[in-house]
Amino acid sequence: MKILGIETSCDDTAAAVVEDGQRILSNIISSQNEFHAKYGGIVPEIASRKHVELILYVIQDAMETAGVDYEQIDAIAVTNRPGLVGSLLIGLSAAKGLAYCHKKALIGVDHLLGHIYANYFEHPDLELPHISLTVSGGHTLIMYVRSRTTYEILGHTVDDAIGEAYDKVAKFLGLGFPGGPLIDTLARTGDPNAIDFPSPLIHADNLNFSFSGLKTAVIRYVNEQRDAGVDLNDADVVASFQKAAVKVLVKKVLNAAEEKSVSTLTLSGGVAANSALRDALIEEARQRDLRVCFPPLLMCTDNGAMIAGVGYHLYQDGVRSSFDLGALPSIPFN
């Protein structure tokens, strides 16, 4: 069974064809170099209405790369929540149009389920239930995953997402964008114990995060040192920042595993590529006999394959969306 998956919830325009929820026949993302080379021009960082210019090329490319026509497609899965409404609507409208004229089933997919699902491409034997930590520029969520199509949010950021804190600290230090990989690399040469930054909410009796205060603590420290004429070592600053951030992420995800008595953890989202987070999680999990799974790197960020994957399982469960399927901006907090 082949599913066409469409994803436009944030900046990337993406489409993919996936067979039986597992075999990726194509996975096209507008920000990929291959796509640029093929269609030329500059793909803007901020998408929204720009999705309109790209969506049909991306879908066409996904179909051609997979070597399939619409006769061979069984259903069209599309992200309809959460995200920027203007962006979601473009993928959703394209999906509805194609589903209508080719008489295919339409399936609305939760973007967050997609991120979790990315792990299944690498680990098809992933146990359920498990705990998932989704970390990106826009999300910091701990979820209890009951099945491939259901989850419960156990904790989330109350202010800035973790990836956002990385980006803002990097920008403040003049390191560039995106902050995640830059800080991750620079931190390897620094001393993580050089500065004692706070890990907000680490002792709170819940699974929530707060990274705004950590960001402000770093800015404050750097300003104070600069004012005092002290020569700052950026590597020490980012290594200490990263240590404080990773510490609270790892602690809370382990708390969640204990609370729910599960033995498997998954990581997803763009920050899942962060080596300090991966290493710390692997080490802590090893001590506790927990299994940790990561998605392949390309699958950490937004893509259509993860949406097609969830779409396949929803289809198997008998889920069909009607043509009045709407775009929902918010995260479904319980």
């Binding site: 944030c10 960082e45 920027l84 989330h156 705004s212």
Partner: protein
């Protein structure tokens, strides 16, 4: 723009509270523009306004830096913008900002200086400045009577 109220905040809680009080006077179609450096408390003050407008869970009002716009439902709809990621003013057009700015809700804009040209002249402007002692100076500006009335609820120094 005229300065109407100036106050000092010594904690994130006080900045939040200032926002909560301002919310009392906001009306359909209001636009609140925030200016201030990273970590000055823009999101914190915006959270105060959202809670003041009736959003129940403060923890669900998160930074819209990545998502660009977040919507909440209080006594009025709330459109929380963060234009930090915009690299040029034209990009705001791609977000369909007109439907929000000139709609029936309350629009909150962080990093307003990045979209100077399209910011409505009639708006409430809040600047947050980080002082040497780490306190914040909050200044409230407007150029119209309707917004000036919004600030009458504030127990702070009226200029």
């Amino acid at each position: 723009m005229e300065l109407h109220v100036k106050m000092h905040s010594y904690s994130a809680e006080e900045t939040f509270e200032a926002g909560r009080v301002v919310a009392k006077g906001l009306f359909p179609g209001s636009v609140v523009a925030f200016r201030g450096d990273l970590g000055a408390g823009k999101t914190c003050c915006a959270q105060g306004i959202a809670v003041g407008l009736g959003v129940k869970e403060r923890s669900q009002i998160t930074s819209p830096t990545f998502t660009l716009i977040q919507e909440y439902q209080g006594r009025l709809p709330i459109y929380h913008f963060d234009v930090y990621r915009l690299t040029c003013e034209e990009e705001i057009y791609d977000l369909g900002y007109e439907e929000y700015f000139y709609g029936k809700g309350v629009t909150l804009v962080e990093w307003a200086e990045r979209i100077e040209a399209i910011l409505p002249r009639d708006c409430l402007e809040i600047t947050l400045q980080i002082e040497k002692d780490q306190s914040r100076t909050l200044r409230f500006y407007s150029c119209n009577e309707q917004y000036r009335r919004v600030l009458t609820f504030m127990n702070a120094e009226h200029v």
